[in-house]
Point group: C2
Chain length 114, copies 2
DNA sequence: CATACTGCTTCACTGCCATAATACAGCGAT
DNA sequence: ATCGCTGTATTATGGCAGTGAAGCAGTATG
């Protein structure tokens, strides 16, 4: 949703997600280390670790202790499916409800970008 | 623990908004008192007051101290326009971005409800 | 004035987020 | 084995948001 009023570790998680979905990090690639990513994003290493933690719990990254964290096999599809399901179940319904309440048509939303 | 991911005072705010937009409370009508609405919604009076507070700051309700809170003149249109603007500016863009990223077509969203 | 409603203010508790300073543990190259 | 990287655990602290209890303040009515 809004990236401005969101906890840092969730924003970091979104950045990783998008990087994987967009192919910036392919399966088997090593993700930035917690320390490197922390410096890059101006965050605390522990906050980055907290963001990474969710991915390993979901099996999207595998940890080689002492080496680094790597994008797991099938992570891209798995991530895509999970986000699609979440979007359809949790994101879209309130959006559609709001559109109906405010009489917003899809046309006026799609015109705004060529 | 927190099955309700959204703060109570924001949910209350949404309820008020919808009631005004749907015409349940017309302009000049008195809104439920903080205590009455608190009991009705199973919330704390202070939480209700906090929800109401945002509306008076936006000039959508006028306060007659010691009497009650009343829907301001032009509140419905004002509220509708504000929510439309917010939707188009803040809500829709990330939704659309996510749809593109996940290759979600509008068709599969609109089919689910006939 | 007394009563009963109204909104609102103050103080405090709780939980979550982010940060910090260490310290520990695993791996690879020199 | 040592050095330098990797992730992880511990404990503590500051800040902030959400909620709640009690009481203060304004208004209408009799």
């Amino acid at each position: 949703m809004n990236n401005t009023s969101k906890p840092v570790y969730l924003k970091l998680r979104d950045i990783i997600s998008e990087s994987i979905l967009d192919g910036e990090y392919s399966e088997g690639d090593m993700l930035p280390s917690v320390r490197a990513f922390a410096i890059e994003q101006g965050a605390n290493p522990l906050t980055v670790a907290k963001a990474y933690q969710g991915f390993q719990e979901d099996g999207l990254v595998t940890v080689k202790r002492g080496v680094g964290m790597f994008v797991a096999s099938g992570a891209k599809i798995k991530l895509r499916d999970a986000q699609r399901a979440d979007f359809i179940k949790n994101i879209w319904p309130p959006v559609e409800r709001q559109m109906k309440r405010l009489n917003i048509e899809l046309d006026e939303l799609l015109e705004n970008e060529a």
